[in-house]
Symmetry: C2
Subunit: 386 residues, 2 copies
Amino acid sequence: MKLNCSQSELNSALQLVSRAVSNRPTHPVLANVLLAADEGTGKLRLTGFDLSLGIQTSISASVQKSGAITLPAKLFVEIVSKLSSDSPLTLSSDEISQQVQLISKSGTYEVKGMIADDFPDLPLVETGTSLKLNPLLLSNSIKSTLFASSSDDAKQLLTGVNLTFDGYGIESAATDGHRLAVLNINNILSQLENENDLISSSKFSITLPSKSLREVEKFLSSCDHNQPINFFIDKGQVVFISDDEIITIRALEGSYPNYSQLLPDSFSNILEFDRKEFIASLERIAVLADQHNNVIKISTDSSDKLIKITTDAQDIGTGSESLPVSFKGESFQIAFNVRYLLDGLKVIESDLIKLSCNAPTTPAIFSPVNSNVNFKYLVMPIQIRN
Amino acid sequence: MKLNCSQSELNSALQLVSRAVSNRPTHPVLANVLLAADEGTGKLRLTGFDLSLGIQTSISASVQKSGAITLPAKLFVEIVSKLSSDSPLTLSSDEISQQVQLISKSGTYEVKGMIADDFPDLPLVETGTSLKLNPLLLSNSIKSTLFASSSDDAKQLLTGVNLTFDGYGIESAATDGHRLAVLNINNILSQLENENDLISSSKFSITLPSKSLREVEKFLSSCDHNQPINFFIDKGQVVFISDDEIITIRALEGSYPNYSQLLPDSFSNILEFDRKEFIASLERIAVLADQHNNVIKISTDSSDKLIKITTDAQDIGTGSESLPVSFKGESFQIAFNVRYLLDGLKVIESDLIKLSCNAPTTPAIFSPVNSNVNFKYLVMPIQIRN
């Protein structure tokens, strides 16, 4: 392999693909990025792959000799990022010694690599269901729900986000067993070529790991929002393709819990209040609540138009905040984990929010008011003794 | 105690004094800040003290009832920082229950405190030697040397910065046994009232702990640079006073090593090169050097006008950079810990720097070129086998 390329293009490409390189690789070669140069196309292709998430991209290069090698991702990314962008770089590899030489204006680096053959192939499904999706909406569907998934690896399917496509729109959902976030987007398709074909063939429900989706979300929000993303799904693999970039994700196995049955149909208490003021109050109350199980109480009195948020961190202190509220129902009291509330309130974008609930022990729902976003955030209350 | 005060003034004062509150207090009350309100002066005085560093400041308050109490610093700082700055705060304490009530527009907080009598007195020496110092120069004398002090508590005096005042100027020095930074400032005094008195009475040499000086340096750089700082020194205590703020530091005991004898008088090799380019090269080389003992080699060849910086991280890779140099002496090679070099080069502010050395095993000195700053950074080379 021998080629010249620009420092800034190589640097951006390495930053992108290294997101798919594991910090704790299960095999030495997985700590590396794969570089493959092709004289015919004049491209240098870069790949990072942790066996679940794979990211591949290409940059233009003046390739004098085709070839491929893998290099330690962390080290190579760091060296390239510190090189001057003023002058082009020369990369050449000796396939026998597995050494790569990197020459820039200011100096020469030699880095020990590993042979390309050891690097696993990216599962590039381009058959099965194929859709053209709106990247901004897809990014929203991930961002609005991902936070509610479990970070406990033992919880398997709950460490992912479930995506259900009904032929037109997509519903994303995530839960860790204590809270559930659901977003329904009814116009995720960028393009409809043959509507009938599509509806019949393209329905799916798949659960993708949150860790990988976090990288997909970053990638989608940096994409051109007017260009659709090509989405392929087949045999438990999902592939996103946009221009030169390819992302592959292996889905989690199993069927996702039927979460819709958890969402209550009717509510005896409905409260509406200002979202930002509520967040500010909760953040202050959280300082004390964090000292004692994160528990806060919300109470209303049908006589006054205020919601009261209180916390009692035994032996440390107490806090109490009030907020104007528009209220339908009886006076009641309900307790929550303040961290769960803050997580969900931060992804809702409306000015006003609605808290709908029944008993202090049954699920409560937070949702936006006067918004065309169909988002529901269910939180299980904490049982309290008075 | 009962008073009203502004959220923003209380918040700034708390941020300042809490810097002197230990993260690992040796006694519960040392995790607290002391609040003392005085009806007569209309002031709320705040104090943080970790037995080595003490910071005290006052803010205006409308005091209805004098009194004093201590409150958990971390919790109180966090609550106050999150309150709205729109409305004044009411603080009142119940000395019997040791509870403090904090009322703001949006809510009410009660925090459990501890009695003020348990809080140790700040050692407010205002006798002994007294000087008026330039805060900017004092800040520089700390900043330029502190990094070279040892972070190993077992090294006692070497965990501090030594300050020597000769009646006119101040010399600051710090060493960890591997490198030594020395800055000489000959005009540190802001005001000379009676020059003869001063010279005879004010000479001192004192070593102050780096941990505390780090906070003093932050404080000094935020001071009005045109207002002199009052400096008192007596019986191993140093006190800085500026307007409403008082900082006390307990000096380290013992006599600081006679470092001046370590600085060579003459050099057989003198190299001059661009500081920023040298830093950029070292930072790139450091990526590889960090993989293998941080060792880098600098070599010159009297025939070409280049300095070569190389590193060899066995089995990982090698790096080599070149830099134009103006050079007097024989061709030679010398090795350093790259982290030591970067630490020192970052505090030198000149464009050009000078490396003066003799043998590859004797101390090397980095110093600014074309600068009126009298700074020397001595680094012990690393012995290398060829």
